[in-house]
Subunit: 316 residues, 2 copies
């Protein structure tokens, strides 16, 4: 294997680029703006230019670079073609070929950013030491990634690990962004937590709760109130934990992972998240998976960069 590699995480605002040795040693990372104008056609040339510049600065050549791994915020087919990426202004873009052409035919691997972040957490984060990892990302939405035997499960439609739209409730009347009702995201994302909190406040307008002090209310406020013993916020935590714990039990009985890693902004509430989710998980889980471990993600925004380079330097 050649001695160097790059990991690139393309976001809607910035592109994060990591420079590594092929043994996994981190050397440097930096960000460049994501120029989404003109259908995002400048994004890949900008990345190629930034990598070439770093190669030059480091006093090496592209011949010494094993390849570039790329995480993209959209579905990626197994041939490395991205099929629509709204945040980047992209339609169908052959990232693998285009970026390779821009960098002297270097090897390029491409995958969905949530899946790449899962690989990063499996390699160097909350899932370190395990080969089979379910990563759940609780942010504005609920995303996920599945790592089997140290490799990303991409899926036939490039949509592997999309757990946010698993239907978890039959009695929901509100419609999810995807058009269905009762999706996990409606209860377990930051947006979903605020939604069910506001519903609880409206349902019982006279009930006292410190949640009423916040305007607008955020998911963090809800968790803070619950931590301080607020009963209504505590009930929201339980509703959140039941939806997420049961959804994870659906998944583990099929993929039987070593560990479930929970990340994203909502996971900053820490151990209390793991506690409430694993309580409902244990109730719903099939017996061989009752003791599946739950861990918090540790790499934060660097997970994508780590997972992206891992696609290049892994022997899996």
């Amino acid at each position: 294997m050649k001695p160097y590699a790059f990991g690139v995480d393309i976001g809607g605002t910035t592109v994060k680029i990591g420079f590594f040795k092929s043994d996994g040693t981190f050397l440097d990372s930096w960000e460049i703006p994501t120029r989404t104008e003109e259908g995002g056609r400048k994004i890949l040339p900008d990345i190629a230019r930034s990598i070439s510049k770093k190669v030059k600065e480091a006093g090496i050549s592209l011949d010494q670079v094993e390849g570039v791994g790329v995480g993209v915020p959209g579905p990626v087919m197994s041939d490395g073609i991205v099929n629509k990426c709204v945040n980047l202004g992209w339609g169908v873009v052959d990232v693998k070929s285009q970026l390779s052409d821009l960098l002297d035919n270097i090897s390029v691997e491409v995958a969905n950013d949530a899946n790449v972040a899962a690989l990063g957490e499996q390699w160097r984060g909350g899932g370190m030491g395990f080969e089979n990892v379910l990563m759940v990302t609780l942010g504005t939405g609920v995303g996920g990634g599945v790592i089997i035997g140290g490799r990303i499960l991409h899926g036939a439609n490039g949509a592997g690990g999309e757990i946010g739209h698993m239907k978890v409730r039959d009695d929901e009347t509100a419609v999810c962004g995807c058009g269905k009702r009762g999706c996990l995201e409606q209860y377990a994302s930051a947006t979903g937590i605020v939604r069910i909190s506001n519903l609880a406040l409206e349902r019982d307008p006279k009930r006292e709760t410190s949640m009423r002090r916040f305007d607008p209310l955020t998911a963090k406020d809800v968790f803070d109130c619950a931590r301080q013993g607020d009963a209504v916020a505590g009930e929201i935590m339980e509703e959140f934990g039941k939806a997420l714990g049961e959804a994870i039990a659906h998944i583990t009985c099929v993929m039987d992972p070593d560990v479930v890693v929970i990340g994203g902004g909502v996971s900053k509430a820490g151990q209390m998240i793991l506690d409430v989710v694993s309580k409902y998980y244990k109730e719903a889980a099939f017996f061989p998976q009752k003791n599946t471990q739950f861990k918090l993600a540790v790499l934060g925004n660097n997970a994508g960069m780590y997972g992206a380079v891992r696609m290049i330097i892994s022997d899996k």
Copy 2:
């Protein structure tokens, strides 16, 4: 690769053995009884003897055999060790090492029988031509297997693909064999279909239905009545279809397969099964997977033998 290979499917009553060329050509298959007495200690020597005899008959030697793949009715760890197999009388058995020792250190691969059958259907059955397959087996219970990139998803506890104990209903009062309530198996196995049918008959004792003519009622009777337009049997079909279709939607949003293959005794009802399951599936599925294909299994009891040999001769 050496020119020959064997696929072995160990069942509670008989062991099915298939003899193949390493290019996948089927040569011969036969069965021997499964001798479960004395803690099942005769099973592996019986298999080794039967394979040695076939090798001799064919005028070849073990040196020309690439290996033996084995499917076992219990959880199998990634190192080929079986961890309790009630139907065979086994506790912890190192199938991989023991069978290899009995056959001049030949290569042996071992996996759970439902997972091996899934691999067989992916290779030569309903999932042929696809790399990512979810196999659902509707028999006395509900089993399953997941094939990702042409390889079995074994899982951390050797329990990958165990979809029968996915919780699909919150309102169930009856307890499943696994100790939980609301498991898929309670609605979608042959036993489950009879169970919900009998409940429907008891709930409304005066309602006319041709299902009352059968004693004891079987799942096949229920499907036959539904096919002939019986309204109560039709409602059972819908209940069955909703439970299974929604459970499959839970799975596809995570593993995003190319195709879902439905097998097992219940699947003999044919196209009407696919119709009712895919109707509810489409309602619950996340949009990238709305058009996931549904197919019937085609290999029947031979699926295990095919999948077992495939573990040996695949380049995955």
